[in-house]
């Protein structure tokens, strides 16, 4: 179910719109649904391809401390890892 609380307006050429409408008709869906799905699919691609994540200054400092230390799972992760190791 699509939440339709937000709108997105955009300008495009007459020929472009005709092509989009034709493609939507071929797929048998309304133009708006066709455009929304196509854009969201591309959003996923971009997000997945986003390679770089930044740590805040506070977390950077914390991470540096852990950087050269051995891996230290918390109790819960330790239990889950043991379960995986047992299944191998």
């Amino acid at each position: 179910m699509v939440n339709t609380a937000a709108r997105l307006d955009l300008r495009l050429g007459v020929a472009e719109k005709a092509r989009i409408a034709r493609a939507a008709a071929l797929r048998g869906v309304p133009v708006s649904a066709f455009v929304r799905d196509a854009v969201l699919r591309d959003v996923e691609n971009v997000m997945t391809a986003a390679l770089t994540v930044s740590l805040s200054a506070a977390e950077s400092k914390r991470f540096l401390k852990a950087f050269d230390a051995p891996f230290k799972p918390n109790a819960r992760l330790k239990v889950a890892l043991a379960r995986v190791a047992a299944s191998r």
Partner: protein
């Protein structure tokens, strides 16, 4: 005991996977295989050996890098000069009918274990996860992940020294 396999578009029933999150269902159905072919991300599915087509859950991994913000000169000296190689778990999902069995923990631990193996081969030093919403963030925090910044839905787990 369920096992984790690389997604195979021919043998796994992607269309039959329902987890209550449309973006995670659509990703598995429409994009996971394409991302694998294009080298963007790999998807790993959880199945019972007795019913190997039915997907109980999945996670996807891709390569990423971690940058540090606003470090003091003093701190910077301890850093490698390049960004830290990371593994990013962009998605983790468990089928609606299978929720409550601890399969999310199993998938997460499987991914962590895989990253510990990759650590020595790839130099990956941190696992990043993208939480879809605050509830998912709470799940990861219980396993020791920390938000990359205040209120961030991307969390990290240091993998330590190889």
């Amino acid at each position: 005991m369920p096992i984790v396999e690389l997604l195979n578009a021919r043998s796994h029933d992607r269309a039959g996977f329902a987890c209550g999150e449309p973006t995670l269902e659509r990703y598995l159905r429409e994009q996971a295989s394409q991302h694998h072919r294009d080298g963007i991300a790999t998807t790993h599915v959880l199945v019972e050996p007795a019913a190997p087509a039915r997907i109980l859950g999945y996670y996807s991994l891709s390569a990423a890098q971690l940058l540090f913000e606003e470090l003091l000169e003093q701190g910077r000296q301890r850093l490698p000069r390049y960004p830290v190689p990371a593994v990013r778990m962009g998605r983790l999902a468990v089928a609606t009918l299978e929720q409550g069995r601890g399969l999310g923990s199993l998938l997460l631990a499987h991914a962590v274990s895989r990253c510990l193996d990759l650590r020595s081969q790839l130099g990956a030093r941190v696992l990043l996860v993208d939480a879809l919403h605050e509830n998912a963030g709470t799940f990861y925090r219980a396993f020791g992940f920390r938000p990359t910044a205040a209120d961030a839905l991307t969390l990290y787990l240091p993998l330590g020294r190889p």
